[in-house]
């Protein structure tokens, strides 16, 4: 029973040695030096606070390792990583709030997002989370997520609608 060292507990991947590709099935493939992992799953450890950092690579629930900073890997791989992340974490950004109806604490939102128009219901104010200073996250009644990266950038009408709920 050797001494315990915290840093032995995780495998931090060297960004230089990472190559991400897609195989012919479109699955994500991770090449790590000589080793190749197929059907790799990626997860964000801190999806809210550090979305582009601390990305976990896994194969069938076995952890391959942790990528500390997505920006450090080669451009082609990075493009693939970002596509993959965008697929795995679908969080449309709200650019405008068109209307808002409130009913007994639940609210119906009609918004413009970077993916198009969308209507959704929020069950309670607890599902609208303001991350200081200006980031706002929504979780709708069905578990979908939306975000406003910086609520100051919204137009005044959208801002006043948002203020009434946060």
């Amino acid at each position: 029973m050797g001494d315990f060292h915290l840093k032995d507990e995780i495998t931090i991947l060297d960004p230089e040695s990472i190559t991400l590709e897609r195989n012919r099935f479109g699955d994500l493939t991770l090449k790590l030096g000589d080793e190749t992992y197929e059907k790799v799953r990626i997860m964000r450890a801190f999806p809210l606070s550090f979305p582009e950092k601390y990305i976990v690579f896994r194969v069938r629930n076995e952890e391959i390792g942790l990528l500390e900073d997505a920006e450090k890997i080669a451009d082609t791989s990075r493009q693939i990583l970002e596509d993959e992340l965008r697929k795995a974490y679908f969080i449309p950004r709200i650019t405008r709030i068109c209307s808002l109806e409130e009913n007994h604490g639940a609210s119906k939102w009609k918004v413009e997002t970077d993916y198009g128009m969308r209507e959704f219901d929020v069950r309670s104010r607890d599902d609208i989370k303001v991350l200081p200073p200006f980031r706002v996250l929504f979780r709708d009644a069905d578990g979908n997520r939306y975000e406003i990266p910086d609520c100051r950038r919204l137009d005044p009408k959208s801002q006043s609608l948002l203020d009434s709920e946060t």
């Binding site: 915290l6 507990e9 450890a45 601390y54 607890d126």
Partner: protein
Amino acid sequence: MREYRHQPRGIRNGREKQAQISEQDDSENLIEPIPENIRPHLDPVIGAGEEIKISLSTDMTLDGSYGTDWLVATDQQLIALNFNGQESPDITQISLGEIEAVEAQNLFGNNILKLRLTDRGVEVARYTKSLTRKFARASPKIRELIRQSKPESSEQEDQDHYGPREEKRAQRCEQCGRPIPHWAGVCPHCIEKRRLIFRLLNYALPYWPIAAIALLLLLVITVISLAPEMLLGKVLIDRILAPSYPRLELGFQNDLDDGVLSPALRQVLRSNKVRLSEDAVISVEQAGNKWQIRDKDNYTITRDGAILNVRREPDIFDKIISFFLIREENPDPKSLLVKVIVALILINIVTNALGAIRGYMMAWLGQRITYDLRNETYAHLHRLSLNFYNTRETGNIMSRITNDVHRLQDFVAEGLQDMIHNTVMLFIMGSIMLKLNWKLGIFAMLPTPLIVILSIEFGKRMHKVFHRLWRRWAGLSAILADTIPGVRVVKAFAQEEREVDKFETRSYDLFENELGAAKLWTVFGPTMQFVTFISNIIIWLVGGLQVIAGEITLGVLMIFMGFMMRFLGPVRMLSRLHQRFQRAATAAERVFEILDTQPDVADKPDSVELPDMQGRVEFRNVSFSYDGNKKALDGVSFEVSPGEMIGLAGHSGAGKSTLINLICRFYDVDEGAILIDGVDLRDIKVKSLREQIGVVLQDPFLFNGTVAENIAYGTPNATMAEIIAAAKAANAHDFILNFPDGYDTIVGERGARVSGGERQRISIARAILKNPRILILDEATSSVDTETESLIQEALERLIRGRTVFAIAHRLSTLKHANRLLILREGQLDEIGTHDELLEKDGTYAKLCRLQTELSRIRAW
């Protein structure tokens, strides 16, 4: 290794200081004056040269009835006078040398003081629970006397306390003896209201300019706010709408004979409500058709041909109004009306504007004081030791920071100002009314005492009724809180009907009480209305007569009517002043009690940091008691080398948790010392010590925040990678990643409920990240399924590597990694050794092991 230094007693902590002080006080209380009827029985048995050290009366006799016995101790003997229903008492004399032990037996509803002699036991006094404290002070004193009487005596056994556990906190006020209400924690009768209010005002002191300006504004507003009534009466009615003294046209000439009014002129004047006194004509300046009469201070009548101008002598209020409004001699009514209207509008704007400014200033002041007080109290709460929290309920402490502080703000910002405002208002209105017409003024204020009495009486009743109502509501909620979560049990036992009946009974009770409250309201409202009406009627009647008689003008009557409307509100408010003061004072006391409590465990000025702790722990003859009576730990000594894992076992209440509390220095030891790396715990800075102690508790507590924040709670500077590593080591990484928000998941938020096993792993990660030299595990693997338990065990094995570990576990199997086991029994160290050694010894541990093996066999069945 540093040498162990024992600190001088007395400066160690506040608790001890207090104990010493009260001991001093008590020695005086232990000698009660002996009444005349007892003296004759006592004197013969006390020898010359003996000095009475203790004389106490009981409130029960030994045979168990209420009555008074006496217990007297001199420096040589102890004398008990027991009446037992007889005229003269049985006298028991025991020489102090014979006494082996003094026992204060705490029984149910009464206590007995018993002396244990070499060959027998003697009960000497019996008393109810009311005298528990008095006699609790007596027994140590008796013991002291015994010690003094036989100086060679060795250790004597203190079997002082047994029986039901006594309440920890005083239930009665030490000053007045009244019971202290459960909710208050302080005696509402004995708090010095004035002192408290002044202390509270201290918090306003830094902001005194604001308070002064606000007060000034208040006075100005109060005065100005009375102006509209005066303007309406004095100008609008008396001079514009219904001038009481019109110009009179006379049809005759010979009205004045040698300076005396003719009866005809008197008649005319009288019919116009001008009543001149008999000796009215004081100055007559006759020049042709013009003359002038002055009637003392009341009237000036000027005659100009056939026209009589009657003018009332202006009083002080008229003069003030004239100064502001009417400069010319005979103003035009229309332009005067416009002036009055403009003045009314201006007054309204000014009072409202000043009122708004004042309101904001007071709100600022109130909020500012609350802010200071709230933060100071909260910061102080965190400085206080665990001992403070043990003796109080969480809800009670919380309510002090929220409700009580709020109440104080309300009082400072509103209550005090209201009081000043209302007092000033009443004073000014009263003076004006008396000045306008003292007779009518007195009549108008006649019903005031009645209103005061009614308001106070109603306030008291309402208070009672609402309390009752509140309790009923609480009872009803309690039923709901009980049965809805317990609905499975209700259904399983088919007790729905009974529950419904129970609810209905309570509900009806509430219904009746609500009606009671409604009745009170509906009676009070009309009663007050009626009294108000009566005072109005009095003014109409008395004032009306006065108007008819010409003693006052219609305008003055209207001023009275207007004032009466505004007079009663402040009266009612002031009637409830006492209640308001009382409430604020109690709230203040509760808040200040926190601020006045000194932390038991505090850093000494010369305490040291201990940055590179090895983890060697040594207990040297450690004794500790939570309440000063029962020893939770009693003379425990052992030594643990760095990196050793010690399993703590023993029955519940054996002192396992106490031992751990002492290592963490949540409390200071009473006797002996705990040394870490050879340094006395009390010489180490508390912060430095706790930084190197990690705790994984039975039911780990997670704060409202993200998972990452919770893991890094003890190490806020940890990097994200370190947090992930710690979570992995604690087998928590996988389930955390499976939350949609990963490490950003807010603990306890909907959709991310953290189960018990998960909580434990997060808290293990917390401890791993903190990397402490000394680790404390409190039954870390209870109540989880087998798979989770193995995950936790695995995590723990990683955690304990290379650290000094103290582990409490009821299940002995969880202690299999322990190097040595420490078995406690009733606060004392019973056995210490390895598993095998202890089994070999066949003592307490071996017995526990056998019991558990049997139990698990039954379970496995």
